[in-house]
Subunit: 177 residues, 2 copies
């Protein structure tokens, strides 16, 4: 007996409803696109649509550390320049970064965080604290986030109710808006 053979082309014995399409194409014959989360009603998905790839968040991180120039981002992150170009443009388009004349007076441009971009700080802190708490090799973590005035580690981010009492995940729920 023959081993199973994959049927890709339409075959006579295949029923009408069991339609055969070329892989990589949908029923309209349109191209397959990487799914976008744009317009998703979930705010988490909406955020991920804007900054949900690593490079974007690492660029933001570096921006918080004071990096402003294209070349500096590239050297710091070690990513391909074409990717950096695309990412920076997307972040500017979304109002997370803005360009301005270079601080050193040259004809080049700096990339700086907008207020919307600075609003991402809690996300970076949350990512950092998760790693600090759960990473399997915490000894490999090089830095601690401290408050500049006293040089002491910051507190963990804490989710609180309206009245200030701390909330565990299970003590919360989603309500329609």
């Amino acid at each position: 007996m023959q081993p199973h053979k994959r049927v890709i082309e339409p075959t006579p014995w295949r029923s009408q409803k069991d339609e055969v399409r070329a892989p990589g194409k949908n029923k309209d014959g349109k191209m397959v696109k990487r799914t976008s989360l744009e317009g998703n009603p979930c705010p988490i998905a909406r955020s991920l649509d804007a900054i949900g790839d690593w490079w974007s968040l690492l660029i933001i991180r570096d921006a918080f550390l004071g990096i402003r120039r294209f070349g500096a981002f590239q050297r710091s992150l070690g990513l391909a320049k074409n990717i950096l170009t695309v990412r920076l443009r997307a972040l500017v388009d979304r109002g997370i970064l803005a360009t301005e004349p270079a601080a050193d007076g040259s004809a080049y441009r700096d990339y700086v965080l907008t207020p919307k971009g600075r609003g991402l700080f809690p996300i970076l802190v949350a990512l950092r604290q998760w790693s600090e708490e759960f990473d399997e090799h915490p000894d490999e973590i090089a830095t601690v986030l401290v408050d500049r005035a006293h040089r002491r580690p910051v507190r963990k981010l804490l989710l609180c109710a309206d009245d200030g009492t701390p909330l565990a995940p299970g003590e919360t729920m989603l309500a329609p808006r």
Copy 2:
């Protein structure tokens, strides 16, 4: 005059040091790999290495909402089953999800959050709150996170110093560990 022509193959006038390599290969002729953030000393990068793609965080989100079964994740997220398979396996491997016998007594398995996975909650909250505060179409956001007891929206995550005073991004810095 001819338009510029791209030189990919080695040419006589090209110097020794200006070596020519096939694009997509490095100097050793090895395959191009997607960069991994594993072992990176930055804790943000380490977190992103574990959960830095959309689908993973959306799976986690659904897990917090009580979704446990393969098929339920797939229907909820609308992602391809092969991708879901890979993602779930990676999350289990990293100790973020675990499998256990299905709660309904069937022979299937449930995917449930581990303590490490539940530790991701602040990240999800931070993503949510950023969208709530800065999204251009906040009217499209369907839900609010409330505390279960009083049904009132939770507070914004607040970064605090050791002594409890709130900290802005600029009032923090990184110190070596």
